[in-house]
Symmetry: C2
Subunit: 728 residues, 2 copies
Amino acid sequence: MDTGRFSKPLELKDIRIQDDFWKREQELVRKEVIPYQWNALNDNVPGAAPSFCMRNFKAAAKLMREKKENAKFIEPRYTYRGFNILPEKGKEPEDNKFYGFVFQDSDFSKWIEAVGYCLATNPDSELEKTADEAIDIVCAAQAENGYLDTYYIIGGMDRIFTNLRDHHELYCFGHLLEGAIAYYQATGKDKLLQAAKRYADFIASKFGPEEGKIHGYPGHEIAEMALCRLYELTSEKRYLELAKYFIDERGKQPYIFDEQEKERAQYTGEDYTPNNDPKRYRYHQAHIPVREQDEAVGHAVRAVYLYSGMADVARLTGDDELFKACERIWNNIVEKKLYITGGIGGTHLGEAFSHNYDLPNDLAYSESCAAIGLAFFARRMLEIEPKGTYGDVMEMALYNTVLAGMALDGKSFFYVNPLEVDPEDCIQDERKHHVKPVRQKWFGCACCPPNIARTVASLGNYAYTVSEDCLYTHLYVGSSFTATLGGREIAFKMESGFPWNGSATMHVSTNENNAAETAALASLTEETKKAGNIENTSKTEDMGTTVTRFSLSFRIPGWCGGKYRLLIDGKELSAPGTDSIKISEKDGYLYLASDWQGEYEIHLEFETKIRALFSNPLVKENTGKVAFTRGPVTYCMEAADNGSDLWEIAVLPDELDSSKTTQGEIEGVPVMFIDTPAVRIHSKSTSALYADYSAAETEKITARLVPYFAWANRGEGQMRVWIPAHNA
Amino acid sequence: MDTGRFSKPLELKDIRIQDDFWKREQELVRKEVIPYQWNALNDNVPGAAPSFCMRNFKAAAKLMREKKENAKFIEPRYTYRGFNILPEKGKEPEDNKFYGFVFQDSDFSKWIEAVGYCLATNPDSELEKTADEAIDIVCAAQAENGYLDTYYIIGGMDRIFTNLRDHHELYCFGHLLEGAIAYYQATGKDKLLQAAKRYADFIASKFGPEEGKIHGYPGHEIAEMALCRLYELTSEKRYLELAKYFIDERGKQPYIFDEQEKERAQYTGEDYTPNNDPKRYRYHQAHIPVREQDEAVGHAVRAVYLYSGMADVARLTGDDELFKACERIWNNIVEKKLYITGGIGGTHLGEAFSHNYDLPNDLAYSESCAAIGLAFFARRMLEIEPKGTYGDVMEMALYNTVLAGMALDGKSFFYVNPLEVDPEDCIQDERKHHVKPVRQKWFGCACCPPNIARTVASLGNYAYTVSEDCLYTHLYVGSSFTATLGGREIAFKMESGFPWNGSATMHVSTNENNAAETAALASLTEETKKAGNIENTSKTEDMGTTVTRFSLSFRIPGWCGGKYRLLIDGKELSAPGTDSIKISEKDGYLYLASDWQGEYEIHLEFETKIRALFSNPLVKENTGKVAFTRGPVTYCMEAADNGSDLWEIAVLPDELDSSKTTQGEIEGVPVMFIDTPAVRIHSKSTSALYADYSAAETEKITARLVPYFAWANRGEGQMRVWIPAHNA
């Protein structure tokens, strides 16, 4: 690892998103998702299964007031292995009982995290008041020793941490920490942060290599990256040490999960039959120590959360061996386990990564949360080393699967993101029961909607990272922000046509009066946004201008095939640049190094032609098929545009005009369509299932493709991303 | 229905199979499968899970001797929903307890059926003695009232027929009847037949439309066709009436399965929660009355057994409405649900037909027994109406999936017959746990091996059917036989090059001394077998020759595309024939009508070129892929010939020389290979998962294809039937 290439995200409060495309999504989160979610946490959504989340905190808080901290644990009756506890049929929930999934506390934490991100740039006193009241309830539930998980506070705290594999205490803790930090960073209020820290301290007192402590680690990862974030906020080493401990303890034999199961058998009275399947903890990425791993396996969300934590610890401790494991696993995902939509997780069995090259389209799992976790992992790898692969995949995940997870009106969500759907199959074929043809309102296990909310709301954290002397642009998102470079605060404004065109203009000002400068930059006219309409604006030659040495780095998106133009103040430039601005490329990033002084306008134009892609032949699913992308957007074909019997359409990629798109909109949201030459194969003209290989009866048509993120917003219908290529 | 076109199979004892190809298979059944199976029934196969079959009959027989007929039923503990009862872990089975699957009695019945078919043409006193002793045991288990199912005889007979849906009594009864008839027809011994008839009479006394009787039907069909067979043997109407009752009662509401579940809840004390899913009895083809059905649904073996029974009843009662239902369902299978290997059953969930056009290759179920059942259904449709579609599909099922079910050495078996296998996937992918890359010795649920045995042993029943004045040749199988036509016994000998070439020569003799004639025909030299080497043999002008008016009908296989030659006594003929022999075609059958006198040699040459086939585009699995067939044989590609990474091979169907085959052998068995132009796409030369659509780096190779029935006889390796076609 080259520590000189390390960089960190900007603080959210320092960045304003002004991007037509993303601002819409963020507004949906603020105006639709967060209020809805608050109602869901409080069981106030008519027709939706109750969450019991805030109810549990209230019950726990009452018990704390009554000092029942040492009550004996009573195992609730689960409805199934998913550990969901429901009231008796037809009865109201009882007082002082825990209900819902064992990880239901995390619903609050994800909500408060999203609230924090929104408040960072959009003050809202009403929302803040609601949040503060919720925090009061949550904090009231905390035990004196710092423990804070309602499942055991309500059930009896003598059994805490006795089922690390299944009971999600450390997962809920990780989310609590993330939420508490986000809220603190946005509002400066530290009540929840102090509670979370006390809980972290309690956990640190219970887990570790020392004798008498639990030699364990989370059954569902996230605490690792959350602890790193707490360390970066507080500089208190013990949090980093605990994160590193969790990572290094994982996969050691004998497995703590086995040991705990054996111990539990003693008090449940159940038979303990050792499970000796060497693959049994692949689901938890705990089959072997993480440093020995080189394949992404098991539950996909758990996996990418772990890898994110590994990357954090590797960076913060300078651990090259751990970083190498991250690289191996990253390469495995990108070369063998990644959907073209930026989704991961080929199998619904364990919501997991399938084996190499197994990327079924119709049976895909590709959970929204897993694509989010992949973006987490990518950004953390970028913080260590700016490389095109990380930025490309992060962009692919965010613009496609993450956005597809939420309806264009922000009111319904996908948990599973298939690449091919026939609504009829979802009804008829039990193997596809996990695939839904339309988004749903809310889920019993509501991980995806709040996860999408917190990710979209914190987009600024993904767009840029900064080191002492370099600003890295990873995503081209219209925004204005300040960053400290070469010891001075510099003002930036990015104007971007992404994702519909590949033009991006960065305005830079090193002038002293940055606050005023930022405001001035923010008011630049809309015209300059348009590609090819860049004019050389005259410099402000005011007195505050000083010279600062730093680099500006821009990701060269993989999809442009290295084809782009660079104009600085209207003048086209390329490597090695000029005497005053050195230009170079490294690992898919463009670097402009200079002694910057005054104002600059750096304009980039990346080629955004339509690409027809095919798969590595080892992806058996995609034989004979192509998929279309344009810029960062992956496309799909829907029945809404092309009629039903989508399966009869084959495209003619040889006849594709890669520059032709059609402006349009879906449900009022502007999008670009691809209208591509295709044929309709008239299968219905023959009843034969099999026929001699020869030209079938075909009709030339134009197939319309729409962005994948916008699919299923016009009712139920067939959809496919990978489309047969017709051999004419 | 045109009763004039009805025909019936020959009796097995009247036909000798002399075909190189099939004789080998029949010998395997006689010498390998039947003895092995007998050991399996008696729990004498080291390493195999015990069957408990004969053990249960012995236990039941002892109880019968002890007159415990009226014992109260005690529900045994199932290990899982499959209704398998095993001894307690680590303990020996207890006396007087039932073990194994609830349908384990049928193992004996399938064995005795196969034994009967073998004895019909291969007397074997040792085997017959073993069979007689087994029959003595089985008959000793029969209750005084005629009931004969060990599960309830051992468990307590007060609960018989209270779980028609799951407990297989009527299924075991059907198999018992089939076995008893086969053994009687082969040996003339009727002890088992009488027992089975008594059981049939008992069932007839319990089931029917009358008040006080059970208004029910089998949860697993087969009794319907078995009862028809008993009716045809005995001419006793009540058996046909019972078959018809079972068929017409099926699917009526309220469902008997629901009613019985409700009743059972009263004595098990369990909660009865009505299941109101309207699809709930699709698995049993009982969701709606059979006459309203037009789609093949549910458990595939159950389904085709039902359809076979429906066809029998339709023919025997002249029920055109029922026949129309059979036709609709047949067409649905052939047009939308049939694998190119003659297999059926696209999903392992319920071992069932999937929805239309859903024919996954790697996840296929395609159970051996289902292909057998499809041949049953086809033959019964042929008995009603000789049509190419029935003969073609019957041939396809028998030559491909049925044979693939058994190893070339007869020692191991496939239950599931995938069209694509990667052994690595079978280990790694839980969704494919049902797919095995190599055949297994025996199965706990051992339906397939004995089912293959009884089908191969009775092949003669599928090759020909006969009406009063027409002999139909459905399969071209080397054989000699007699048939009664125009009131006289006529001798035939078929010489065939099938499946490796399309030539077939039928020798006909109307001479009086048929017995001697048959022997003479049987000794014809091998030379005439060879295509294009037919000589006009001089007629035997002996005194016994008489004139008989009848027709000879030959199936024109669909795969020859109507291209064939007909030579009678060496002279090429076509429709309308000559004054003495009228030639016509109807529904894929060739008809030769004449006043036959003396000896004839009818030679047919069907074009057998290699066909590259593609699928209806609605079969999404097969996009961009072709499959190869030649004559009745479907081919596949194996790693044993083509190296691993089979997925990198794409064929060039445009360059295929459709007449070029290579003679060879697999494990000593002669086969024909197809060596076809192909490319190897070097996916490994790039690590990219997705790349721009363009010519990949390819290497021209010759891919070797082998008959599907012979796959997986050379160890574990990748295999695929549908192969990508390379767009060069």
